[in-house]
């Protein structure tokens, strides 16, 4: 319940405040969002598996975001930022798919 409320409040705040993304953050924000989405899906899956742990969720959330941003940042320093951010998105996308499939099996038994 808390995550859903938090998500809703965050979306509403973002829409209401409508801040512009700082220039330095702009390449990293979408990656960070995707990484956080991956953590959230992993959390939902763990919840269905009955092994959800708040600490693990928090740690994985933050670490996902930071590592994803770090990879892209390193890529930018090396001149392969675009490719690396694509790689990160692909990997995270695959994981989100996998988690979504697990969630689906729990929900629909199929």
């Amino acid at each position: 319940m808390i995550p859903i409320i938090g998500l809703a409040v965050g979306v509403v705040l973002g829409l209401l405040l409508a801040p512009s993304v700082p220039l330095g953050l702009q390449p990293y924000l979408p990656i960070a969002v995707v990484a956080a989405l991956d953590a959230v899906f992993g959390g939902i899956r763990a919840r269905f598996d009955g092994i959800f742990d708040a600490k693990v969720f928090v740690v994985s959330f933050v670490s996902n975001v930071v590592v994803a941003a770090l990879i892209v940042f390193l890529g930018d320093q090396l001149g392969v930022g675009a490719q690396l951010s694509t790689a990160v998105v692909v990997v995270l996308g695959i994981r989100i798919f996998g988690n979504a499939a697990a969630i689906r099996r729990h929900l629909f038994r199929a």
């Binding site: 808390i2 938090g6 509403v12 969720f57």
Partner: protein, 272 residues
């Protein structure tokens, strides 16, 4: 990531602190960590207020970032944060698009110029076409015509005038510049034929009755002269026992019409 802290719900502050410190090094998604947590799962179900707050804050941050990112992707602001290579690609795309568009403008402008010039030409062309149509209609005999010309009356009391004599007369008149003519009530066109026996002549299948009256539009003097030359129409009719009256007039009306037969095989050639 120490599962040792799991069973003890009392020290929540340490729960959050090591997590943030350990983040960049050992990033572990929930399912990776699942086996290690097996022992702690049952008692962990109880609500941990700090964890709940953290989860709430993190998901709120996610929602916030999501909304902000979606908004900034919607607006063109996203260009400001784009990478150099992305910007170069975007610039290339735009340049190519601009080239395409300016080529299109050039084409359209050329077409516009052509249309504009042909617009002013078309009035003159239409006028010319109309004049040509009138000339052809008169030549074909599909409209009535009037103008200076002559009326020729060929009497044939002995019924000796043959088709060739009439045909000769028509050829002579044409040679003398006749523009259009009719014999009795039959308009002479480019395909007109004179047939039949003396006394029972036909032009284009229509019976003629003596005297044969030619209404001819053209230069009266030229045609009158052409009729009267030695060996011409007047003398040949005379040899057959007939007479020719030629009346020059400023106003001859040729009002017999010919049906226009559509060509069955020939088609206009658009080549020129």
């Amino acid at each position: 990531m120490s599962t040792g802290q799991g069973p003890t719900p009392q020290p929540p502050p340490e729960d959050g602190a090591p997590a943030e410190d350990g983040v960049p090094v050992e990033a572990a998604p929930p399912e990776d960590a699942a086996p290690a947590l097996d022992a702690s799962v049952p008692r962990r179900r109880g609500r941990d207020p700090l964890a709940a707050v953290l989860i709430g804050v993190l998901t709120m941050l996610l929602g916030f970032a999501f909304a902000v990112q979606v908004r900034s992707t919607d607006t063109e602001e996203s260009l400001a944060g784009a990478r150099e290579e992305d910007l170069i690609r975007i610039l290339d795309d735009l340049t190519a698009q601009q080239e395409r568009l300016s080529q299109e403008i050039f084409d359209q402008r050329t077409a516009l110029d052509q249309l504009g010039s042909s617009g002013s030409d078309s009035a003159a062309a239409l006028q010319e076409a109309r004049e040509r149509t009138e000339a052809l209609e008169i030549l074909n005999g599909t409209v009535a015509a009037q103008g200076p010309g002559i009326t020729i009356t060929i009497r044939d009391p002995e019924q000796g005038i043959t088709s060739s004599v009439l045909l000769n007369a028509i050829q002579e008149l044409r040679g003398a510049g006749a523009e259009t003519m009719q014999v009795d009530e039959v308009r002479i066109g480019v395909t007109s034929a004179v047939t039949g026996r003396p006394g029972d002549l036909q032009v284009d299948g229509e019976d003629l009755k003596a005297p044969y009256v030619f209404q001819v539009i053209g230069s009266p003097q030229d045609m009158a002269t052409a009729m009267s030359i030695p060996g011409g129409v007047v003398s040949s009719v005379g040899r057959k026992g007939g007479t020719v009256d030629i009346v020059q007039s400023e106003q001859v009306v040729v009002d017999a019409l010919r049906p226009l037969d559509a060509p069955q095989y020939a088609e206009p050639d658009d080549g020129d």
